[in-house]
Symmetry: none
Subunit: 225 residues, 2 copies
Amino acid sequence: MDQTARKVLIADDEPDIREFLQYNLSAEGYEVYTAKDGDETLDKAKRIQPDLIVLDVMMPKKSGVEVCQLLRSQSAFKDTIILMLTALNDDGSHIKGLENGADDYIGKPISPKVLVTRINALFRRLSKPKAGLLTMDSISIDPEKFVVRVEDKEVSLAKKEFELLYLLAHRPGRVFLRNEILNQVWGNEVIVGDRTIDVHIRKIRQKLGIDCITTVKGVGYKFER
Amino acid sequence: MDQTARKVLIADDEPDIREFLQYNLSAEGYEVYTAKDGDETLDKAKRIQPDLIVLDVMMPKKSGVEVCQLLRSQSAFKDTIILMLTALNDDGSHIKGLENGADDYIGKPISPKVLVTRINALFRRLSKPKAGLLTMDSISIDPEKFVVRVEDKEVSLAKKEFELLYLLAHRPGRVFLRNEILNQVWGNEVIVGDRTIDVHIRKIRQKLGIDCITTVKGVGYKFER
DNA sequence: CCCAGAGTTAATAATAACTTAATATTTAGT
DNA sequence: ACTAAATATTAAGTTATTATTAACTCTGGG
């Protein structure tokens, strides 16, 4: 299977809808997974880390809306594209979906053409470009393998630490405001105190051993050298 | 998501209006965030630093007018475009909005076309070109990296020093009154003595090494060369 | 169940930024 | 050249921001 294939998770309690979606999306080259209720969706989403989730509003265990809210409250899913599926294509549920963080919705019945077009459009519009390997002299950061190498020694960072370092390092010299950092790394729904950033910065400095993050007091942090 | 997408924050207590705006503005390529009451608006505005805020007049917690006033009293939002939304399209609330620092207003009900046209127009009319790199011969000022380079040597200034230098340098030759400087750099609520400016000027001159700030006695300062 | 690691918070310490006040120097007007 | 007013300079005092540490929660794996 293509290494860069987009992963799509389909969540619907009706087997024939799952099959229909799976068929059409596989044909488009997506890597498709399915779930049949809210809880299973959450489990699989966590394991698979899909790029897009097709979420039926009406599902057993947890409704699509609930699942959507739960996913959006976790920073791991802040960039996951969520497409709601609803039989009720009245404004009410449409609204409810988008309000809770969905990126788009489609009303049943679904035409294969509309579905595929919409999903492709979502990817075009929303997906972040895949992060690439960063290399500065004596330090390299690989987001694929999740590894940082400093002077030929491998350093393992925790996820938040890594994301923070990557954010700063992908634009060396540029100052990132604390707000920007919170938005990019934690997402704008999550609320954490300012000291949290400091603590992560400290751990990064500590683990890397070399001083490559500069504090700009009253402003933010930047990566240098 | 486009890295340079304009950020728009929508503040309205009615879910269907939020959704309506979100849908239409997302489709235009804006990066859209929402808030459902006054307090949430202030929180998110601070966090997200949107380029434009669509502000409903009638909201719980704090009204749009209050939010507008509060935002405008903070220097971080002096360039944020504010568009008021009101069901009462009588002159009274229109005036009240503009009086309190809003840049435009739209009366409900809203047509998507009008909305998008108006917002695009506001951006065209009001948005400042991104604070950019200033380059004069032998000196360059980079607000993104928060660094000044003088004859290929990097000089790091503290926040107030930098803001002051940037203010003067972005209009070389133009004299800035002490009052203007206080307003722009310190904001109009903060009260500091006149000597404070002198001290910062001195530090800048000292750090840069070259004399590029001229005193205009009895008037103010200007950047030259 | 317990442990280990990640993530967060809160309290305190440390430090840099900022402001002020006191004194010296410069400038412009007479 | 004298004077008054404005600015320059310096050092010291204050405040704001960040660094550091340790404790606490939460989660998943053994």
